[in-house]
Amino acid sequence: MSDTHAQTVAFVRETQIPPAPPPTMETGAIKWVRENLFSGWANTLLTLVSIYFIYQLATFVLPWVLNGVWNTSSLSECRDVLQGVTGGCFSVLTDRWNQLLFGFQYPSEFYWRPSLAFVLLFLAAAPVLFFDLPRKLLIFTGLYPFIAYWLIWGGTILAPILALLGFVVGYFVFQRFVKESFAMGFFGAIVAAFLTWWLGGYVVDAVASEDTLLTAVPSRDMGGFMLNMILGTVCVSLSLPFGILLALGRQSDMPIIKWICVVFIEFIRGVPLITLLFVANVVLAYFLPPGTTFDLILRVIIMITMFASAYIAEVIRGGLAALPKGQYEAADSLGLDYPQAMRLIILPQALKISIPGIVNVAVGLFKDTTLVSVISMFDLVGMIRGPILASTDWNGVYWELFSFAALLFFIVCYGISQYSQWLERRLATDHR
């Protein structure tokens, strides 16, 4: 067959030609640009507008950052150095670095204490955030609140030890009684802990000496980003257990308990945080026994914790509602009672579903800690608007300071949300 064919056609190629490379317009970067940036007139227009926007932003921001002055001690000095050239006076950050981080009243010779507490925070948070780490590290996490309190506030070491002792006693009482009944163990532990603190309070008062290892720093001296971190971490960690209790209460069959929780949650969620901070600032004192003085930071922590626990309760309620009913029935059919079913079956799954929501609340709460500047506490924003902008040296430096504050919050909040996305992928056990 092929022979006859060969004679009718003038030329037949007997070897295969090497494959030609694809047209240059259809490969590599050019193809990508054509497909992603210039695939139609609308797309091209959008691209050009975006490029123009980025160009404008860059010409505006880049000289400001690149010409920045980092080592002068006042605004007028900085302007002398710049001599009319566009540039940021970032020296306000280096000059007032400690004030921005620690507030203007924290004794400067003790800056190492909150810094150390901050570094230890990562060590304490690591085993909670990453499950692969050895579980033994959790012991340090448990000890961390007391260490951090002692480092930041100073004073007698007996106070945090007593607080820890209360928890330890409570834990042993719980272990002792939980086999008989969860309620008995739970309430017994609470009573035992309070009894320890109450009795221990007298002992500590009697024993504690005046000259302590770490000098006491009063709460009103806390300020700067440190205050935001303290409020954020303390309130988030305290609001989690309260939020779980509130969510369980709202799901409960007992009408009175359910309605107490519903009213609390809806009330707190219905009012802005600022009004709650006003309550902490001016109203809360009316509801305490006459003559008690309560420091402002503690009152604020109480109110923010209430605020956050209402939001976390709603998130966890969502998680509880999302569990298939079969899980509840399975727990019942195994003969578990309510506390066991919750602890062993329901909550582990519900909390896992709620993680993204909880992280959202945590990020939101951390951002909301800046509101304390409204009730004249000197957190990062309060420091900037108060002592720094009001000082004669730096009156008029807005952008550098607020960009710094924005950047600091961005780093923390973006970091947390990236972690939560990683965790979500880690915990995804459903096979899709």
Binding site: M254, E266, T275, F409
Partner: protein, 404 residues
């Protein structure tokens, strides 16, 4: 065959309150109630004792007394001799104004950013991702203060508009951006403007009626009537015709530089603009995420199914994707509106006189009636958020998937 007899009736024993599930919940509730009452009584007694010690009482009479302070943005007539009650009402109106403006702007921004973030254009989608992440992760208070600083520090003062070598100039001769606020033209309603408004409203009704008619024609007769162009014509033509026939009853008053400041027009203060735009941009980033999630929640099969039925791309979006996506988008959107309203209380940081600034700020400080003022303040916000939740519940009930 065994016969079943009822187990012998147990008499009630006290231990059954703990051990019998039938009674245990009653025990717990009783304990909870008692604890609640004890706590309330304790707080109440402390309150009474503290008030007695300070020589105070709970009374709302201060609402009737003259306020004695000025408010720089007055939607209704108000002067320093007006009562605290009136000051609070001005504050409420100011809250609602900024909340409304911010909600509208945030929705527009959020929908644009959310849709553009899904764009096939790599640059645009990355740019929108940067917008969303940058604004979501920085406290709104910082944004409010930054925009307020732009408004008060970076913009030129009114005297920069003066003279031949003015360093600043008005935009379109109508808008002046100064550090005392933005001046815009103000409409002057003259005789006959009522008729104009009535005609405009009537044309809106006509548009609605026409669209209804067109839909009825489509469903019952199968005639596809044009909708877009007639609606557009109905919207503009009657009003514009009436405007000229009635002899131009509405004119604009332009702001003009007189003395040291601009006169005439509407002055929008820097504090309002700061609050408005900061809330809008910040919340817009959240809305963008909701919109994106809503659109992505609709499976691709829906688009393909609609295309298989022969629908054009525009109709696929309008008739198939959007109605389903809106079900997902609107509930979080409404709670974002609620957040805007609550966050507008941050007005106090830039001196915008909303309800927190009047009732919770100056009135509280002048009268010292902290408990009453904050109670009223909370009541106001609670009313707003509970009514928004009620609307949300009604909506959710209406759009709930009708399953089995």
């Amino acid at each position: 065959m065994t016969t079943l007899t009822d187990p012998p009736r147990e008499s009630f024993r006290l231990s059954m309150l703990i051990n019998d599930t039938r009674y245990r919940s009653l025990t717990f509730q009783a304990i909870a109630l008692v604890i609640l009452i004890v706590i309330m009584a304790y707080l109440g007694m402390n309150l009474v004792a503290n008030l007695a010690a300070a020589g105070l009482n709970i009374s709302y009479e201060f609402l009737g007394e003259p306020a004695g302070y000025d408010i720089n943005q007055r939607p209704i007539p108000y002067d320093s001799q007006s009562t605290h009650m009136r000051a609070s009402i001005v504050g409420i109106l100011n809250t609602l104004i900024v909340a409304f403006l911010a909600c509208v702007t945030a929705t527009i921004l959020g929908v644009f950013a959310g849709v553009l973030r899904l764009s096939k254009n790599w640059l645009v989608s990355k740019l929108m991702a940067v917008y969303v992440e940058a604004f979501r992760n920085v406290p709104v208070l910082i944004w409010i203060i930054i925009i307020f600083s732009i408004m008060t520090v970076s913009l030129p003062g009114p005297r920069d508009f003066r003279g031949d070598d003015a360093t600043a100039s008005m935009v379109f001769d109508a808008f002046a951006f100064t550090n005392r606020g933005v001046y815009t033209p103000k409409p002057i309603w003259e005789a006959g403007s009522t008729a104009l408004i009535v005609i405009f409203l009537a044309s809106l009704v006509a548009i609605w009626a026409y669209r209804r008619y067109a839909r009825k024609q489509l469903y019952e007769q199968g005639n596809l009537l044009p909708v877009f162009w007639p609606s557009l014509a109905l919207f503009f033509i009657p009003t514009i015709l009436a405007y000229y026939i009635l002899g131009r009853p509405v004119s604009l008053e332009y702001p003009a530089l007189q003395g040291f400041n601009f006169q005439g027009g509407i002055q929008i203060r820097g504090s309002l603009i700061a609050l408005w735009f900061a809330l809008a941009i910040y919340t817009g980033a959240f809305i963008a995420e909701n919109v994106r999630a809503g659109i992505q929640a609709i499976s691709k099969g829906q688009t393909e199914a609609a295309a298989a039925l022969g629908l054009r791309p525009g109709r696929i979006m309008n008739l198939v994707i959007l109605p389903q996506a809106l079900r997902v988008i609107i509930p979080p959107l409404i709670s974002q509106y609620l957040n805007i309203t609550k966050n507008s209380s941050l007005a106090i940081a830039v001196g915008y006189m909303d309800i927190t600034g009047t009732l919770g700020g100056i009135t509280l400080n002048q009268t010292g009636r902290a408990i009453e003022a904050i109670l009223l303040l909370m009541l106001f916000y609670l009313t707003i958020s509970l009514s928004i939740s009620a609307i949300l519940n009604v909506y959710n009930e209406r759009v709930k998937l009708k399953e089995r």
